[in-house]
Assembly symmetry: C2
């Protein structure tokens, strides 16, 4: 019996659980101190009333013989896939309902999609980056190369034609930096991928935060993207589904490699290793995309947007450099007075009670930077930024 | 860019979708004929009232700011893991709550667990078998060998010490045959696995149908199993969760290979590639294991058990050989007058309207046999067996 030896190359613990332990320890030793949690990218506002009503109704249906549903289609119910197609259409991206696969979240699909690719591929990952892209590829023993996201390129790296990559990760608006590609800039990546026969794994989990015109909500706003890109998205941030679990992945019919349809391969993977998402959850997700649901979830999104503005305004006043915040729930700032982001984390927690995420946890180029999230209530964010301003003003 | 070439070795379509197409075509061309669906292993009774109430309550909690929950633990909430531990304890298996991982279903985990093993392992799979075991290993390019389940061994193959296997699949009560191992017989497999350093992947999805004393509900009823076996189970058949999606996998602390803890590896896999199960679903699952919930789901199970008895009684009267049915929702019968199970499927559908699953779809040794499921209402089963008896009496 041989285990997967690649697991030995993984670090034992995970960035966010380390942070949770640090915060718990601080909290225990300072029971009187106020803690402002702006570290984890987890929503704080409840599910929209339209979502709750739809889920309650669906649960009741599941309790009645006449309306009970057993196994659903592995790729999701048509009612939800069609709602997602219309949602795409609302911002100008054309996706066929049958190209959409409903899942329990983008994280699952981002890991599982790698089943379709040989371990012998070179993977291009931005640095800094969401650690899951790196770890899932290490688990399969793939060669990973990095493209530097830095202050100089506004944390939006562009393709280097001398680099040979087969699988390319792009997250826009980005986690952790909040930087967002314009459709124009994204076009360069699509052209690079098509020329090389590479596949882009495009993480659009934060698309609903895009408010500026010309920035991409979907990679499919770029012509030709359907021949080279798979898109991952989620209701987690859009509709507060982090505890309710529903996402979707678009694998276009036009995406073929080595004579195989990646759509057909993913369908085969999902029908073999997945049994679909709970009916009640799919009803809730569809309700989030109804007219009433969209109005309600947009009200929640503007709370987070307003929080991000409070953070940005404070940093502007302090003259601290940052990116993100305008089209993203994340603000990515240069650590004031620190080059080590972990040391800054400790200092900030101790001095102000503000919890963020050290940029170094996302890669070498994240060192010296720090992520704050706007997923909190306004009082918390105002309190946090007042304490922050007092400490660094 | 290289795709995973192993996907080319997979058949394009899937047994149950083929059958669904055949039934749909028959239904369309014979709109007046009654069809008795006893093919798919999908429950038909609604969720228990205690489950519905718990899920509704949880959905309402998710709609209120004060009780909203975002990301939960990837391995499941303690309240559910502890309920599952108590459920195990109720039939005499000792499992630690931290050894239990909650997931969206056994099918997902049975596929995903293979991440932990090198492609270069020999996999021993019974024939006939649930096709997912075979396909998931083909996707990874593993060498598969089969152990014959036949009428001679009552479809319960025993280990052959001359066979060198690293990963061993056992499903008990079995899908498709309904045959169930006694604790005594299972001991031989545990001893074989421990001696060889192999790992048993034990699928206990149908354990709640076991009613005879001495038959295993869990592999952990066998001493030493914690050193060699991972167990997969699900609320799908136990509590009618096929459309609600919740399962659990036990990876014991004592299970180590090549100096690595498989528990630690699975925890790393799940925290990296999974984000847990919907809070409301976990509340529903825990309610199914409450005193009231257990009473209600057992009432549903006895409906299915009674249906299985109706099938068995009819076959007894006809003098047709079968196994299963007594500790399983599946009855596995020898096709009367046919050696080709697909031809029997067509004949049976045409002649009686009864839909089952041809044994040949589960492997070479399934040829000549046929699976009927008891997941239907009593009227359907009585009607089906009357038509069946008329045709073969």
């Amino acid at each position: 019996m041989k285990i997967n030896e690649n697991y030995r190359s993984l670090r034992d613990s995970y960035l966010f659980s380390d942070i949770a332990h640090k915060v718990a320890a601080f909290s225990e030793s300072h029971p009187d101190r106020r803690i402002y949690k702006m570290g984890i990218g987890d929503v704080t506002l409840p599910l929209a009333p339209a979502v709750v009503a739809a889920m309650e109704e669906a649960v009741r249906e599941q309790g009645e013989r006449a309306t009970f549903r057993g196994y659903g289609p592995e790729q999701g119910y048509p009612f939800l896939r069609e709602s997602i197609r219309e949602y795409y259409r609302s911002f100008g991206a054309a996706v066929d309902a049958d190209e959409i696969f409903v899942s329990d979240g983008a994280k699952s699909d981002l890991g599982n999609i790698l089943d379709l690719f040989d371990p012998d591929n070179t993977v291009l990952i931005p640095d800094p980056v969401y650690p899951v892209y790196v770890d899932t590829n290490k688990m399969a023993g793939r060669k990973i190369i990095y493209c530097a996201a830095t202050r100089e390129n506004a944390f939006l790296p562009m393709p280097d034609t001398s680099v040979k990559a087969d699988i390319i990760y792009i997250c826009s608006p980005d986690n952790p930096t909040g930087a967002a590609y314009s459709i124009e800039r994204l076009r360069a990546w699509v052209d690079y991928a098509r020329e090389r026969g590479a596949v882009i794994l495009y993480d659009a989990a934060y698309e609903s935060f895009v408010s500026e015109k010309g920035l991409a909500r979907s990679v499919y706003e770029v012509e030709g993207a359907k021949e080279c890109a798979i898109e991952f998205c989620s209701f987690s941030k859009t509709a507060g589904f982090t505890g309710t679990r529903c996402g979707y992945t678009v694998v276009p019919f036009a995406l073929k490699r080595c004579g195989m349809s990646l759509h057909a391969m993913w369908l085969r993977r999902q029908t073999t290793k997945f049994n679909g998402v709970a009916y009640a959850v799919q009803r809730g997700a569809a309700a989030a995309l109804s007219e009433e649901g969209l109005r309600q979830i947009r009200a929640n999104l503007s709370v987070y947007r307003n929080n991000a503005k409070i953070i940005c305004d404070a940093l502007d006043t302090l003259g601290i450099w940052y990116t993100g915040g305008r089209n993203s729930p994340y603000v990515w700032l240069q650590c004031p007075g620190f080059t080590n982001s972990f040391a800054f984390f400790d200092y900030l927690l101790e001095k102000t009670g503000v919890v963020g995420t050290p940029g170094g946890g996302f890669g070498r180029n994240g060192e010296g930077y720090f992520r704050l999230t706007s997923f909190a209530d306004e009082t918390t964010v105002r309190g946090a930024m007042a304490a922050f301003s007092a400490a660094f003003g």
